[in-house]
């Protein structure tokens, strides 16, 4: 096996490990769907009565469906740093890092596992939208595209979270930073209202917000069918993901020193 083959095989093994755990106990996965369901069923339904909030003549609930999906993937991914700190605390990380597998495989494997959870969220949102009758473009190719973006997005923020974990090192601090990051990202994005409604300063912040690009891409595929912004959305996301995976692979050893 070449060193590249080994890295890829190890990354998939780590992802397999996480997937097997989810198969043994999927309670968390189901509980994670409660929050997006609330956003759609309560928040979405209430604001649906206000006309003109969403641009392009879409109903509000249609408009926020992609945003709610992106947000729920973000919330799952950002807490991956806590998992890795916990694994450090019980000695599992030491064990993983003492195997011949390269560090980058451990990071990519964990990130892929976050992606698996992202796919599950995507499917649940699709199902929910069908049940409550939200009119999305249920085109197989578009849906596959949305799931792919979910995976990439989950990988991006899972590896950001693991990078942060190597500096913060404790579960308590990671819980704190999770809140500090997710809420501002969420509110400074186009997830639940269009950027054009924001004050000027927030609009310029939003331009650097990866969540905005993700929501934009998902909205293109689920709602508008206008793919003109999609290449930029995916490139920005890909760039962030690669940077965070690399920083996390280099810094991971700080956790066990």
């Amino acid at each position: 096996m070449s060193s590249l083959q080994r890295s890829v095989s190890s990354a998939f093994t780590i992802a397999e490990m996480e997937a097997r755990k989810l198969r043994h106990d999927s309670t968390e996965l189901w509980m994670r769907t409660v929050q997006p369901a609330l956003w759609l069923l309560v928040f979405g339904e209430v604001f649906n009565t206000i006309r003109g909030l969403a641009p392009g003549g879409y109903s509000y609930i249609q408009y926020i469906a992609p945003g709610v999906l992106a947000q729920s993937v973000l919330f799952i991914a950002i807490f991956y740093g806590i998992t890795i700190v916990w694994e450090r605390d019980v000695g599992l990380l030491t064990k993983l890092l003492s195997t011949p597998s390269p560090r980058i495989s451990v990071v990519v494997g964990k990130a892929l596992a976050a992606g698996v959870r992202g796919i599950f969220q995507g499917i649940m949102i699709f199902a929910l939208a069908l049940i409550i009758g939200v009119n999305l473009r249920f085109d197989p190719l578009d849906m596959a595209g949305v799931l792919l973006v979910s995976v990439l997005f989950a990988m991006c923020f899972a590896s950001l979270s693991m990078t942060l974990a190597s500096f913060l090192k404790t579960r308590d601090r990671m819980m704190g930073i999770g809140q500090v990051i997710t809420m501002p990202l969420f509110f400074a994005s186009n997830a639940i209202y269009p950027i054009s409604l924001m004050p000027a300063w927030l609009q310029s912040v939003s331009a650097y917000n990866p969540l905005s690009y993700v929501v934009d891409g998902m909205r293109a595929m689920l709602l508008t069918g206008d793919y003109s912004g999609l290449p930029v959305d995916i490139l920005v996301l890909l760039a962030f993901t690669i940077v965070f995976i690399l920083t996390s692979s280099v810094l991971l050893k700080r956790l066990i020193e």
Binding site: M17, R20, G91, S98, T99, P100, P102, I256, E257
Partner: protein, 345 residues
């Protein structure tokens, strides 16, 4: 890491026949803040032996092991594992070694079988050999009927056995065991010790272990080193070390009058009074009849003679004494306690 490097490591003329499993020289680790956890340590572990690294909490044992397993970078010094430098080819080194850390490191959310499967994949064990080795290991370690249960429902002894079973599946040339029997009940402890010995005998696995249990070290180790305050205080075979702290002690009780001294070729009187006498001697068993004869000849009526040999405890106390005043850190205590409770479940 590149493929040529790896081939070199496997077939290089000097490296493959090297009888030295681990060669540590001038190893030093200074943590940020200036703590010298390991201070200019040098030792060799021969291929095929069981080597013990002993010492009080905070002596630098775990840090030393972390550096050999490439988990931590040395501040200075070199480490070669079967001739391969840990700094230049860490992944080649890791392919040769197995590591059982102090805290239980099997994954409680996976089954016993899955733990062995996942880690054998991470060690790149051949697909053809994998399932047979896993089945054999589960069988040998008495875990076959619990293989499909989640590990969090295992007892502490079973978890430890599963960790050592991983070594049987992955077949490392060198296995590190950090406090393998901490927190185990006597029966589980014996089982674990037997399994360690089996690995060493049947597969020629070189084993490096740390322990606080001197009886265990005496029983298992071919050679050992005692660390204290980041340095190696002494090293050698258990027998030699015990000899080095003094000979055997004979305690004689007598109802008659005991002489003040004994001829120097028999031994040396350490203390005497109230009908008992302690005599330091070299070979206690052989000295008993000669000393009894001498004492009776000089008017004593010997009632009992007991022989006590120095144990590794005495060796430990002699060399580690200085650092025992300095207690282990909070972190050490916490991790030892934690593994003890996890085992005890």
């Amino acid at each position: 890491m590149t493929v040529p490097q790896q081939l070199e490591a496997a077939s290089g003329p000097e490296e493959s026949v090297s009888p030295t499993a681990v060669q540590v020289s001038g190893l030093t680790k200074v943590y940020p803040g200036g703590t010298r956890a390991v201070d200019d340590v040098s030792f060799d572990v021969k291929e095929g032996e069981i080597f013990g690294l002993l010492g009080p909490n905070g002596a630098g044992k775990t840090t030393t092991i972390k550096m050999i397993t490439t988990l931590s970078k040395p501040t200075a010094g070199t480490i070669r594992v079967f001739g391969v430098d840990t700094r230049s080819s860490p992944e080649t080194v890791r392919r040769m070694l197995g590591f059982v850390p102090q805290a239980i490191s099997v994954d409680g959310d996976l089954t016993g079988y899955e733990n062995l499967l996942i880690f054998s994949k991470l060690f790149y064990v051949d697909r053809e050999q994998r399932s047979k080795r896993i089945r054999d290991a589960l069988e040998l370690f008495g875990l076959a009927d619990r293989a499909d249960d989640l590990v969090k429902h295992y007892s502490g002894g079973m978890m430890r056995r599963l960790e050592i079973a991983q070594a049987l599946v992955n077949r490392p040339k060198l296995l590190f065991l950090d406090e393998p029997s901490i927190g185990l009940d006597p029966y589980s402890r014996l089982q674990v010790i037997d399994h360690i010995r089996e690995l060493n005998r049947n597969f020629g696995t070189t084993i490096l272990l740390t322990t606080h249990d001197m009886a265990e070290a005496d029983e298992l180790c071919d050679r050992l080193a005692i660390m204290s305050l980041g340095k190696i205080a002494t090293s050698g075979a258990p027998k030699e070390l015990k000899r080095s702290v003094g000979g055997d002690v004979l305690t004689v009780t007598s109802s008659g009058k005991l002489p003040d001294s004994v001829p120097p070729e028999l031994g040396k009187v350490a203390s005497s009074g109230q009908g008992t006498m302690k005599i330091l001697t070299v070979d206690g068993e052989k000295a008993i009849p000669r000393i009894t004869d001498f004492l009776e000849a000089s008017g004593a009526v010997v009632e009992s003679v007991s022989l006590s040999r120095p144990t590794l405890d005495d060796v430990f106390m002699k060399y580690a004494k200085g650092s025992l005043q300095q207690e282990g850190t909070y972190k050490d205590a916490r991790s030892a306690r934690r593994s003890a409770t996890r085992h005890g479940r």
